[in-house]
């Protein structure tokens, strides 16, 4: 959360010589981060990020308190000014008001009857102020509120915002007469479900049950405390008397109410983070003073203060050694004590064996506004940041280097794979893992087989994809001006598994608008980089969805000569070609280096044979048959084709001897016979 702090306002609470730039620098290094300084309404205004655990710093005074400690440490004169508050003796529930506790007033107005539930509410402070006017807010206050980007209403409303910003405890002004007209009773309770209420900005809500609300005797909600006021009791221009009110509620319940109704007021954001209830009285006194000064109000009741849950923080014990372990430098015991004392803690130093600091312990009692200090590491943070992270040396670790690598990943191979594809003309893209219903259905024609997001942000990212191909196809279609575009992505797909996380194995998706032979050339070239040489397209299968015209498994030979399914190859309905390979399988088959084979010293004979094949012939199958026709055939490749004529290049080699033309003759005959018998293909020309 960011808070805006005008420099002059800060000086209300901080005595210092520091320049705004020094304050920015040192606060940022050791405390809340001063992100920027604005020039606004004649002052420098700090824009400060306060972390969620430091609600005590969400006010001008809170920042001043931090700055006093931090600047002092940086060698700049700085001190927190004592709070200047009027002395009004509060009543407690059992305390009878006396004449001196009440300021002179036109008349006495009784407080409404307050029925607290101590389990829900740590503290209630209340006072009736008589004779307020919705007068214009004075310039000095409007300037400050504008500097911190608060809207200006009138003094009656603005005072509560001012106090909240100044001291950090939200407060609320009820229209006293409305409260009294509703029966003059405020009951603190947990709401039942289904009760209606209207907030002061006229928004209608209904309780879910479990919110803390204020109700009157009749069970009507008269406030959503710590979050936002309700219309039926809030002040208006005609308000004459107010009930100035501060409550300190169970923070979790405040958060529940604020989050579930999406009412994220400043008050709610503070109250959900455990505002220190001990701060309440200062805020109340400041409020009374300002109402008296700015609206001519008079105190018309005693100051009510019910405080069933005072903050009792456990002291934290930390050893000197632990501090050293975290910092890597040893601070003197006195220095540690000074830092913590400056921050408002009480510190008891328990000496160890007396020889050195060994065994020394610090018993640290945090102040009530530092409920975040709970364990030794919290104390370490305080010491380290005030000592200054920038004052600690920077060194690399010594010690053993872990050697147990995960077995299911090879990031070097992944990079090699990506770089190789890029180098042969493929573009890598990153697409979203959650896709629209339409795209999900393209991968599998059953939406139930997809995992779905419960809270998608947009309709195009709802289902966790089972295939990369549809996303990659979209990518190609998004670049219609590009001819022969090939794109790839290496990432997870998600297959649901009952009662378990989905399997999220990595897939390499490849989609191209190139022709089939070039597409396949690239896929095989990639595999060849990993010494996977024998790639076969298996029997065509029924496509997984209507998105595909054709689909066939991609098989490769493993070391044990078994054919392993590596993925599938697709012809899409839109004419694109695709393949998706399973990365884990690929990793298992891939090699970093080849099996070296001694060079064959005998020479090879290479010749071309042309066949006329039937229109429905599968060329891949013809080549396999030819290659298997005789053991002297080393290689068969498709060289060229024209209409139904296909020219193949055959390579013959004998491991021991150089082949003669006569040796090749029977082999060639075998090939021609095989093509004739298995594929009804005719040799073009004469068989020699």
């Amino acid at each position: 959360m960011n808070i805006l702090i005008p420099h002059k306002w800060l000086l209300d609470h901080l005595e210092t010589d520091a320049t705004p730039e020094q304050i920015q620098k040192y606060l940022s290094l050791s405390g809340p981060s001063v992100e920027r300084i604005y020039d606004r309404e004649g002052d420098r205004v700090y824009d400060i990020e306060v972390t969620t655990n430091r609600v005590d710093s969400m006010s001008v005074r809170g920042i001043a308190r931090e700055a006093a400690v931090i600047l002092k440490r940086a060698g700049i004169k700085a001190a927190l000014k004592p709070a200047k508050l009027p002395s009004i003796k509060p009543t407690t529930k059992t305390f009878k008001p006396t004449a001196e506790t009440i300021k002179p007033t036109a008349k006495n107005l009784p407080l409404p009857k307050i029925v607290n539930s101590p389990d829900l509410c740590n503290r209630i402070l209340a006072v009736v102020l008589h004779g307020v006017e919705a007068s214009p807010t004075p310039d000095w206050m409007t300037t400050r509120l504008k500097q911190v980007e608060q809207n200006i209403h009138n003094s009656m409303v603005d005072i509560t915002n001012y106090i909240t910003h100044d001291l950090g405890h939200p407060c609320h002004a009820f229209d006293y007469d409305k409260i009294m007209a509703k029966g003059g009773k405020i009951i603190v309770k947990e709401a039942k479900a289904g009760k209606k209420f209207v907030t002061l900005d006229e928004e209608k809500y209904q309780t879910l049950g479990g919110e803390i609300v204020f109700e009157n005797q009749a069970g009507e909600i008269i406030d959503l405390p710590a979050v936002k006021g309700t219309k039926n009791t809030s002040v208006s221009n005609s308000t004459k008397n107010i009930l100035l009110w501060i409550e300190n509620l169970d923070a979790k319940k405040v958060r529940f109410a604020s989050m579930s109704h999406a009412i994220r007021t400043v008050a709610a954001q503070l109250n959900e983070k455990n505002v220190d209830p001990h701060l309440g009285k200062s805020a109340m006194l400041k409020g009374i003073e300002l109402y008296q000064q700015l609206t001519g109000a008079k105190m018309a009741s005693e100051l009510y203060d019910e405080f069933p849950h005072k903050v009792k923080l456990e002291p934290v014990t930390i050893t000197h050694n632990k501090i050293y372990n975290y910092l890597g430098v040893e601070l003197k015991a006195e220095e540690i004590k000074t830092i913590l004392t400056d921050l408002g803690c009480k510190v008891e130093v328990k000496e160890g064996d007396g020889t050195k600091y060994d065994g020394t312990q610090y018993v640290v009692q945090p102040p009530t506004f530092r409920q975040d200090l709970q364990i030794p590491a919290d104390i370490v943070e305080e010491i380290a940041r005030i000592y200054g992270y920038h004052n600690l040396p920077s060194t690399l670790m010594t010690g053993p280097i872990p050697i147990h690598k995960p077995t299911d990943a090879d990031f070097t191979s992944e990079d090699e794979m990506k770089n190789f594809l890029a180098n042969i003309g493929w573009q890598e893209i990153y697409t979203y893992s959650a896709v629209s219903q339409e795209v999900a259905l393209q991968s599998v024609h059953d939406i139930e087989k997809h995992l779905k997001l419960l809270n998608p942000l947009t309709e195009d990212h709802v289902y966790l994809r089972r295939s990369l191909i549809p996303s990659l196809s979209q990518a190609i279609k998004a670049n219609p001006q590009r001819k022969n575009l090939s794109v790839f992505e290496l990432t997870s797909t998600y297959q649901p598994q009952a009662g378990k996380l989905p399997s999220q194995d990595l897939k390499l998706g490849l989609v191209s608008s190139n022709n089939y032979r070039d597409f396949r050339r690239d896929v095989e070239a990639l595999l060849s980089q990993f010494y996977i040489e024998e790639v076969i397209v298996g029997e065509e299968q029924k496509p997984e969805s209507d998105f595909y015209q054709q689909q066939a498994p991609l098989l490769v030979k493993a070391e044990d000569e078994q054919m392993v399914e590596l993925g599938a190859i697709y012809l899409l309905q839109n004419g694109l070609l695709g393949a998706q390979l399973d990365y884990q399988t690929l990793l298992k088959l891939a090699r970093k280096y080849p099996h070296y084979q001694a060079r064959t010293k005998t020479s090879t004979i290479i010749e071309d044979l042309t066949f006329t094949l039937k229109p429905n012939s599968k060329i891949g199958r013809v080549i396999s048959s030819m290659a298997k026709a005789h053991e002297l055939i080393k290689r068969v490749e498709l060289k060229d084709s024209y209409q139904q004529n296909y020219t193949f290049t055959l390579c013959y080699q004998h491991p021991q001897k150089n082949l003669s033309t006569e040796d090749v003759q029977p082999v060639r005959k075998k090939v021609v016979a095989t093509v004739k018998n298995n594929h009804d293909g005719e040799l073009v020309g004469e068989l020699k």
Partner: protein, 350 residues
């Protein structure tokens, strides 16, 4: 005419040919043209006796071949000498594609940490709430969770590990790595795709993070600073500076915000405008860029991973890959969504 005169004539033609200027374009006509020297000689073959004719035929054929070879050779030589190249001709287009900038960044990041003993790992991107939050000292409904705008998956809850989520950060790898190794030393770098419910010019629903985790005896804040400095100088150059400032995360204590110095204003927070006047640098926050969080691993997180926090300490950091990458000089990408588009005009630049 007899075979001897023919032989002499052939010799004469050959020596004449040797003396020709090779650049002469008319040689072919002169020697092999219709009325060229060869045909003039060949026409005389009719005067020879039938017994001499076959021999003469062979001689003439050989002559013709030699002339042709000579002419073709001299033409080639002439071509080589004469054909100049226009050195200003533009290059033809390369066929190479490109790896994605995120891939390039991740490879570099991996390499930088590998050099100081980190092991790269990969953990599920759809994971249980336990690893994403609960084990990281972030109970259900804690306000600290607000910053992680998390996507939940419509699936049965795990009896112990809770809801299924798309990881909103790579910190789910922390306890998973502790579980994998069982005990320190740990030096992990976990890079993964993350998702958050956010979308504007500086945020996409999908993004990448890299997470460092070091756990061992005697690990302290100085080691975190050393590691961050190492990365800053390797990734941004030797002049890059880094710093840590106080921050708050539930899973680290103490927690830090990590800043790298701004290269646009040299870390000063001010640049000169077109008139040479000093003005605030719009690119950074007062000379620094926040890159992400870091901290000393919270004792509760070590405990959740089965490691004794009295014996071991550790540090962790988690930063956005996109953020870290685009802070480089010249990579001020104005719309981060381009990274996840298939816009070739954009991607081809990398």
């Amino acid at each position: 005419m007899n075979i001897q005169t023919l032989s002499q004539n052939i010799k004469q033609i050959k020596s004449q040919l040797q003396q020709e200027n090779s650049s002469n374009q008319n040689l072919k006509t002169k020697y092999l043209g219709k009325k060229g020297l060869f045909n003039q000689l060949a026409s005389q073959i009719k005067d020879l006796s039938p017994a001499e004719k076959p021999e003469a035929g062979k001689m003439l054929n050989q002559l013709k071949t030699e002339i042709e070879q000579y002419l073709s050779q001299s033409k080639q030589n002439a071509d080589l000498k004469q054909k100049k190249i226009d050195l200003t001709m533009p290059a033809s287009k390369t066929k190479a594609g490109h790896t994605h900038p995120i891939t390039q960044a991740m490879a570099e990041i991996t390499d930088i940490f590998k050099r100081i003993g980190f092991t790269r790992v990969r953990y599920p991107e759809v994971d249980w709430d336990w690893y994403a939050f609960e084990s990281l000292n972030m109970p259900q409904d804690h306000p600290a969770r607000d910053e992680w705008e998390t996507f939940f998956v419509d699936a049965d809850q795990h009896p112990k590990k809770g809801k299924m989520v798309l990881i909103p950060h790579t910190s789910n790898g922390q306890v998973r790595e502790m579980e994998r190794l069982g005990e320190p030393p740990i030096r992990m770098i976990n890079i993964a795709r993350c998702d958050r419910r956010q979308q504007d010019a500086t945020h996409t629903q999908v993004f990448h993070q890299f997470e460092g985790l070091v756990v061992d005896k005697g690990i302290n804040i100085q080691h975190l600073k050393g590691t961050i400095d190492h990365f800053a100088k390797e990734f941004y150059g030797p002049n890059a500076k880094s710093r840590i400032r106080p921050f708050h995360f539930k899973f680290t204590e103490p927690s830090f915000e990590v800043d790298f110095s701004c290269h646009i204003c040299g870390g000063t927070g001010f640049v000169k405008d077109e008139n040479g006047q000093k003005k605030e640098c719009k690119f950074c926050k007062s000379g620094w860029h926040e890159v992400g969080g870091a901290g000393m691993v919270h004792p509760n997180v070590l405990k959740a991973g089965g490691i004794d926090p009295e014996k071991y300490t550790g540090f962790a950091f988690g930063w956005g890959v996109e953020r870290t990458y685009t802070l480089r000089e010249g990579l001020n990408i104005d719309d981060i969504r381009l990274l996840y588009s298939a816009d070739l005009n954009f991607l081809e630049q990398f």
